[in-house]
Amino acid sequence: MRPEGPGPNVVLLSLTLVALAAWLGLDTVSVAANRIVTGTGYRVDEVIGASGALATTLPWLALAGFAWRPARRHLWLALVLVVLMLSALPAWLSLSATTLVDGGQARLGIGAGIWVVLFLLLLAIIELRTRLVLPRLLGWALLLPPLASAGFCLSRWLVPLALWQEYRGRSGQFLGAVGEHLLLVGVAVGTSLVLGVVLALAMRRWPGVQKAGFGVLNFLQTIPSIALFGLLLAPLAWLSANVDWLSALGVSGIGWAPALLALVGYSLLPMVRNTFVALEAVNPGVIDAARGMGMSRGQVFRQVRLPLALPVILEGIRITTVQAIGLTAVAALIGAGGLGTFIFQGLGQAAMDLVLLGALPILLLALLVDALLGALTDILRPGGAE
């Protein structure tokens, strides 16, 4: 007889099994004598011995068990377990640091195993959050214990952690870079939003503008970003040499000016396209009714067309912002600053941990913006309609 209850949660089960395999099979940490040399990897059993490694499989097996019989109570237990395991990852790094690193120049690197497990556990949280229909805010709150644990471990035992070392060497610079990055993205997205809305409105009014506009924007999008920076170099340098107030503003062939121009150029297409499509796609029956009821053109636009188009326009802002956060990394090449600076410095010095110091925050920023704007879109969707 088969006991009552839902069948296995395949998603959670496969996530658990793959993560367990990664945990046991891949290096969890690596130790390098200094910043430049490649580290030696250590699997779980190489850190705490075979019997210790066997013990660490217990929570995984429990998780698999909950996934096998996913009653609501089991899913809650699984959620608690996943949060605990996420919180335990920094503790594992601390343990490795104290066991394997004996002071001096040696550094602890985070191995592939930890990255994979981190990623899969986060996916598991998303899956559980969906299954349990938790509110968005609670979903975020679930990340607090792991973050607290990471913060605590960093301050006590994780001094040899390579990423942390790189950060401590540049903590002032780091905050500045994050600020520059956000400023560039903010100004670029803000500018392209204003320009994009104006362009989209013009395209709706004059079909000629529509054809030409999309042609130019599509063309812009096909130029590789580095090439675009290069193309802007000469004209901007000429401008700054010949126009006094521009050079006084700080415009030159390299630096923030070409970066901003290129970013705006790339951001325009998704912005214009989404705004235009959003405004066009409003149900003609609704517009007909609005006019037939006696709304003026302005009222139709402000009270009907714009609010109905808003979720799609926000979607455009979201895509554009996430794209701009990534592109701004490349802008560091022409001296525009931002987190990309660390990436290129790291590449130049063959210090992969420095590259990570630039790349990880970019990734996190993109995810954060994506989540925030996604939440805003949901709120603005009237009554959960369509």
């Binding site: 009714a289 609005a290 009821m293 006696g294 709304m295 003026s296 109905l308 009554g383 959960g384 309609a385």
Partner: protein
């Protein structure tokens, strides 16, 4: 009330509406019927200037419609289209209150009016006021559409296939409700449909359009009995005409006073149509029916011979 005088509408070279003249009297329900592309919707939309006519004159209360600002003109007329016309981002109450808000009525008055209309159309205030259109059934959405059109108590109501997207049963219910509503409110209504049964059920004045022209207009029974040409006849569905006619005539028109004979067992209300009476006879295998009044008291009888017999003078 509404007069179209030699009105023509051209889109480029194509003539959508070709020199039509039409008068709708106050309190009359005028139905424009015809196949798709015959110009009936265009005609309706010229009345509230959603489409500007090319030639001729359109008058409302003996005033040219071009004498009004477009918005002013439209706010004087109710406008109802298929349920898709509701604003999806507004609640039912807000949708209904639209035109009063445009006319800048005070808040309290709008609130009272919305409550009044929802009651009139059988929409429970506490259940529906806060709902969004996508939470309504087709029939409910359409009631909201009609309530919205009636909101500012306009004399004129323009309805463009308002029941087009509904299932047949909901559709018939709403047609009955519209008739009932009209018998109380006496609005001047122009109603567009491609469904001849709907047209016959609703119309005081029936206008058949074909290829931009009016081929025939008049009272529904007149058109049914004497179609002007083969096209009108085909619209009435050939073989089905007898049933369509019977559907327009009440039992009371053909019944005889109670005679010396025993009352027939099967009964029918005096306001039912002859078509319904025929259906009862077929179903019950009965040649005679007792006609009863609203209190279920016998007032006469109807025989099959009588039902199909010589036309009574009207």
């Amino acid at each position: 009330m509404i007069d179209l005088i030699h009105v023509t509408k051209r889109f480029g070279d194509a003539v959508a509406v070709d020199d039509i003249s039409l008068s709708v009297a106050r309190g009359e329900l005028c139905v424009l019927v015809g196949t798709s592309g015959c110009g009936k919707s265009t005609t309706l939309r010229m009345i509230n200037r959603l489409i500007e006519h090319s030639e001729g004159e359109i008058h409302i209360d003996d005033q040219q419609i071009r004498a009004f600002r477009e918005e002013t003109l439209r706010r004087r007329m109710g406008y109802a289209i298929q349920s898709t016309g509701l604003f999806p981002h507004w609640t039912v109450a807000r949708n209904i209150g639209l035109v009063p808000r445009l006319l800048k009525w005070p808040k309290a008055k709008i609130q009272t009016r919305v409550e009044e209309l929802m009651a009139l159309l059988g929409l429970a205030m506490e259940e529906f006021a806060g709902k969004y259109p996508h939470q309504l059934s087709g029939g409910q959405a359409q009631r909201v559409g009609v309530a919205r059109a009636l909101a500012a108590d306009p004399d004129i109501l323009l309805m463009d296939e308002p029941f087009g997207a509904l299932d047949p049963i909901t559709r018939e219910n709403l047609q009955d409700e519209l008739r009932e509503l009209q018998s109380r409110l006496h609005k001047t209504i122009v109603f567009v449909t491609h469904d001849m049964d709907e047209a016959l059920r609703l119309a005081d004045h029936l206008v058949v359009m074909h290829q931009g022209r009016i081929v025939q207009q008049g009272r529904p029974l007149e058109l049914l009995r004497e179609p002007a040409d083969g096209f009108v006849e085909s619209l009435f569905g050939g073989e089905d005409r007898g049933l369509k006619e019977a559907a327009l005539m009440p039992v009371s028109q053909r019944m005889l006073p109670l005679g010396p004979r025993l009352l027939a067992r099967e009964r029918i209300g005096q306001h039912a149509s002859l078509r319904e009476a025929l259906s009862v006879m077929l179903w019950r295998h009965a040649e005679r029916l007792t006609v009863v009044d609203d209190d279920d008291l016998p007032v006469g009888e109807l025989s099959l011979r009588r039902l199909v017999g010589v036309r009574s003078d009207e």
